[in-house]
């Protein structure tokens, strides 16, 4: 967030508010400021909804979550004590207020099974997940954008039907295989059969190869398809004909005129894919025994360790919202006509 300097410059002569109002007016008049203000407002609303839902999750569970977590054999006074400790006996409004207050203090509660603080657990697990997601995203962008552009150039105007058919069908099939099944296949081929890469745990760079490929392949193919279709659409535009009329070399036409105008949808899809990949780590982590949040959330759901689940759902959700925000800002930056900022 940018803070707005609304205080008037120290003008000792007349203590009038005029400079302040004009500064504010300038800010309100600036489309960028309005865009950022509106977009931040939306982020805050989404975050509020997310927090409320995460909070409500434990209350929406039918029956007594503590009884369910501790098992039917647990003595009633233990259950009661745990309920008291979790604050579940307070009125729901008080509970929500307490929850939000604790959240601002960085306190996500404590695990019902291990007694460890949830934020500590997340702090330990987050880097593994984040590094996996970021690495996969980088691979997707590096592979998909050139591939999609190259395919668009090769197959424009209905050329090379064979290559087009091969590309569209392989990428359709590839993109439809879910990451965890691909992961199993990779484990079998490169781990079990060839023994090239480790198949479990997080260690050196080699341990990243299979999880990253499993996570990145589907999105990369999907992205390449989108880039191709978008680039082909742009190639039909009048200004590309202008660029050709200027007799620019094809490489320049494609990189300077076609690609920047296909960027908008590439960014939008990239954002969607990134949020999908962040959550997709849950499955991939469980195939490769990757010590991230995905392993933790699954074992916590199975152990009915609700505070941990709540905390991790919040982190995933917040990450997704953040990605969306970044994408929107990038879109606004990339769009010279500022339609996004206005709209």
């Amino acid at each position: 967030m940018t803070t707005t300097p609304v205080t008037p410059p120290t003008a000792p002569v007349t203590p009038s508010a005029a400079p302040a109002t004009s500064a504010v007016a300038a800010w309100v008049g600036n489309p960028w400021a309005r865009f950022l203000l509106r977009r931040t407002g939306r982020l805050l609303v989404s975050l509020a909804v997310l927090v409320t839902l995460a909070f409500l999750m434990i209350h929406l569970i039918p029956g007594d979550p503590v009884r369910a977590a501790l098992g039917v054999t647990a003595p009633p006074d233990l259950v009661e004590a745990r309920r008291e400790a979790l604050g579940l006996n307070d009125p729901i409004g008080v509970q929500l207020a307490d929850y939000v207050r604790a959240l601002f203090a960085g306190d996500l509660g404590t695990s019902m099974t291990s007694g460890v603080s949830v934020s500590e657990t997340i702090g330990q697990r987050l880097p593994a997940t984040a590094s996996l997601a970021v690495a996969a995203f980088v691979v997707v962008m590096l592979a998909a954008v050139p591939l999609g552009l190259a395919m668009a150039v090769l197959t424009r105007g209905g050329r090379r039907r064979g290559a087009e058919l091969g590309f569209t069908s392989t990428s359709a099939v590839g993109a439809a295989i879910p990451e965890f099944l691909l992961a199993v296949g990779l484990v079998f081929v490169f781990g079990v059969t060839l023994g090239w890469f480790p198949v479990a745990g997080r260690g050196d760079a080699a341990s990243y190869v299979l999880p990253v490929v499993a996570l990145a392949l589907g999105p990369a193919l999907l992205m390449a398809r989108i880039v191709r279709v978008e680039a082909l659409a742009v190639m039909d535009e009048d200004f590309v004909r202008t660029a050709r009329a200027k007799r620019l070399p094809p490489l320049r036409v494609h990189l300077r005129h076609v690609f920047p105008n296909a960027l908008t949808s590439t960014l939008t899809i990239g954002g969607l894919l990134l949020s999908g990949m962040i959550v997709g780590t849950v499955l991939v982590e469980n195939v490769f025994a990757w010590p991230g949040m995905g392993m933790t959330i699954v074992s916590s759901i199975l152990a009915k360790d609700y505070p941990v689940v709540q905390g991790i759902v919040l982190v995933y959700g917040a990450a997704v919202l953040l990605v969306n925000l970044v994408v929107d800002v990038l879109l606004a930056l990339a769009d010279p006509r500022s339609t996004i900022r206005e709209g």
């Binding site: 989404s46 999750m57 929406l60 569970i61 039918p62 424009r156 105007g157 209905g158 050329r159 087009e164 359709a172 099939v173 439809a176 879910p178 965890f180 099944l181 199993v184 296949g185 484990v187 079998f188 079990v192 059969t193 535009e237 009048d238 200004f239 004909r241 202008t242 050709r244 009329a245 200027k246 007799r247 620019l248 070399p249 094809p250 320049r252 300077r256 005129h257 920047p260 105008n261 960027l263 949020s275 999908g276 959550v279 997709g280 849950v282 499955l283 469980n286 195939v287 959330i297 699954v298 759901i301 199975l302 609700y306 759902v313 995933y316 959700g317 997704v320 919202l321 990339a334 006509r337």
Partner: protein
């Protein structure tokens, strides 16, 4: 979705394979548990966690149960749960999707907002969230996956409903007082059925995959029950001992998931359109038509443009070829201004693009002779043509809004020409761009050069377009409808600018327009095109003696040229023929008042007066009374 389209989807090899697979899976789902249900439960203590043997082709699990049988039997449960989740998703999605149409404005917006917020989160995250609430197990997972898919399905329904509600019949039903619920049930839903069916099919595929994922994580089906996801999870633990135990259920999931997805997509594709194929027309095709085509006159002295029997063909959608440009001859001398006129569809723009080597990729361009700026471009590698024509031929396109790259500054787009073709540095090239913008009278050119095209007005953009053509010193400027999108005052400014530029640089100008008045203002010579051919060419001064009925009709329809302003303007009745469907003889015959039997044979261009040629069997000789309004300041 009509029955024909379903059939077409099944005739497509991918669609047929997908449908076949689904039938096979359905049969398995019914039969497998009956045939092998008990055998799949049988434990064999003598064969625990075995690899492939003759008795157990895919090995056994930790309790000695046969993996192959278990994968087959699991078909029913896996498919059944996925379809159940899909049903929940579709029902919830449709409900959420039509709610905004049924509810009041406020409540409707709330629903839309909620759906939009939920769509931002990946399905798996929503599924995990719901799985916590509904509890671990098959029931919880079905609910979780169904509800997790609902927002995106709802969004789809909303989009489609919004598209349909704008249509007339819905408005009519509303006016007729049809109730909201009835409106949804009778008028909205039936009309969006097609995309919904397609997407429900694709959805079933993703539900199957998602379910396998949850079961794999241990959050779905619980033992002793089993589905493919569960088998996969169990098999993965022993992948080093028996890979088949993990791979077989994995393959089953992928195949079933793909079958749904591909069926959905091939249905969607049948509804959509197919790309045209790039082909070459058979040679005989051209030779036959070329016989009757007009040819350029003998050209003494030098020329900047010669095209003889130029033909541009496109593959027709139903096979064969159509020729929007069908044997055009065109000659332009240095410094000459030539106008090409004709209605839209006459092939005039395509002629210009073809001679400039800018025809679309799918087009097939042939000519008996073609020379541009002293260069025969055909048979040369593209890079050489670019180099040779780069500084000699400039194009000015019709719509300056779409003809400039929206994401690049105007100055950069101009400077690019100089940088690429003359190897100048960024600074020098930009300086020249500013200078040229000044030449075309763009005010504050330094500032304007740093702006984006959308910050320019229409007339200024068009002048910037002309400036772009002046970055080098062209021998030929081809301007394709340069004034069409502009109002009359700006139109005159741009024409005057072209005239000035022409006078200063001595470049030849080819001006293409549907408006013979515009051409008459600027040009020395007029070429009239109709249905892909030249029907008349003559000096502007002789327009009053136009011989071809089409030229005369064009002239009569222009208010600026007709002297008798009392008489209502003549419009040309009828429309130009489709290139795929031209009449045998003179293409103008269906609209011509003078047509007779002779016109069933195609007329060739023939001299009717000095410097005037017309393609007509009955050229008119009675003079027309015209006010010619030539721009002052140039040559006459």
């Amino acid at each position: 979705m009509g029955r024909d389209q379903w059939r077409a989807a099944l005739r497509n090899p991918v669609g047929a394979a997908a449908a076949g697979l689904l039938v096979l899976l359905a049969v398995l789902a019914v039969v497998a548990p009956i045939l092998w249900g008990d055998a799949a439960e049988e434990t064999d203590p003598a064969a625990l966690s075995q690899g492939s043997t003759s008795e157990h082709p895919l090995g056994t699990d930790a309790l000695g149960r046969d993996i192959m049988l278990r994968v087959l039997v699991a078909t029913r449960y896996s498919l059944g749960l996925a379809l159940l989740a899909t049903a929940i998703c579709v029902v919830a999605g449709v409900l959420l999707g039509v709610l905004p149409a049924v509810l009041g404005r406020r409540a409707g917006r709330l629903v839309t907002g909620t759906v939009n917020l939920a769509v931002a989160f990946p399905g798996l995250l929503l599924a995990l969230f719901f799985a916590v609430i509904f509890g671990v197990g098959a029931r919880g997972a079905v609910l979780a996956i169904g509800l997790a898919g609902a927002p995106s399905f709802a969004r789809l329904v909303q989009t489609n409903v919004a598209a349909v509600s704008g249509r007339d019949f819905v408005a009519a039903a509303r006016l007729a007082g049809v109730g909201r619920f009835r409106l949804v049930a009778r008028h909205l839903l039936p009309n969006i059925g097609e995309p919904l069916v397609v997407n429900a099919t694709v959805m079933a595929g993703s539900a199957l995959l998602a379910f396998a994922g949850l079961s794999f994580l241990g959050l779905g089906v619980q033992p002793p029950a089993y589905d493919w996801g569960r088998l996969l999870g169990e098999g993965l633990d022993r992948i080093y001992i028996n890979p088949a135990a993990a791979l077989a259920p994995g393959v089953a999931v992928v195949v079933a998931g793909l079958a749904f997805t591909l069926l959905g997509e091939s249905i969607a594709q049948v509804v959509g359109v197919r790309a045209v194929r790039r082909r070459r027309p058979p040679v005989g095709d051209q030779a036959a038509a070329a016989a009757a085509a007009g040819s350029a006159p003998e050209t003494p002295g030098d020329t900047v443009l010669v095209a003889d029997d130029l033909r541009v063909g496109f593959p027709a959608p139903r096979g064969g070829w159509t020729y929007p440009v069908d044997g055009v001859g065109l000659t332009v001398r240095p410094g000459e201004t030539v106008g090409i006129v004709g209605e839209s569809g006459s092939g005039k723009s395509l002629t210009a693009l073809a001679v400039a080597q800018l025809a679309p990729d799918t087009a097939d361009v042939t000519a008996a002779r073609l020379e541009v700026a002293g260069v025969e471009p055909r048979g040369r590698p593209e890079s050489e043509v670019r180099e040779l024509l780069g500084t000699k031929v400039a194009m000015v396109f019709q719509d300056p809004m779409t003809s400039f790259n929206p994401s690049m500054r105007v100055g950069t787009q101009l400077a690019e020409v100089t940088r690429v073709h003359e190897g100048q540095g960024r600074r020098a090239a930009l300086a020249r761009a500013v200078d040229r913008l000044r030449t075309v009278r763009v005010p504050a050119p330094e500032r304007r050069a740093h702006q984006y095209p959308h910050e320019f007005s229409g007339g200024m953009r068009q002048r910037a377009m002309v400036a772009m053509g002046l970055m080098s010193t062209p021998e030929l400027i081809i301007a394709d409808e340069p004034t069409t999108a502009l109002d009359v005052t700006v139109q005159r400014q741009v024409l005057r600018l072209l005239k000035d530029v022409q006078a200063e640089t001595g470049a030849a100008v080819v001006l293409i327009s549907h408006d013979i008045a515009v051409v008459a203002q600027l040009c020395e010579r007029v070429v009239v095109m109709y249905a892909g051919r030249v029907v008349e060419e003559l000096p502007v001064g002789q327009l009053g003696a136009a011989a071809h009925p089409y030229t005369r009709a064009l002239l009569a329809s222009v208010p600026d040229l007709a002297t008798d302003r009392e008489r209502p303007l003549a419009t040309i009745p009828g429309r130009p023929p489709d290139p795929a469907d031209r009449p045998e003889g003179c293409a103008f015959a269906p609209r011509c008042a003078f047509a007779d039997d002779a016109c069933r044979v195609r007329p060739g261009l023939a001299a009717v007066a000095p410097e005037q040629r017309a393609a007509c069997w009955h050229p008119r000789s009675q003079p027309l009374d015209l006010v010619l309004d030539v721009l002052s300041g140039g040559r006459s």
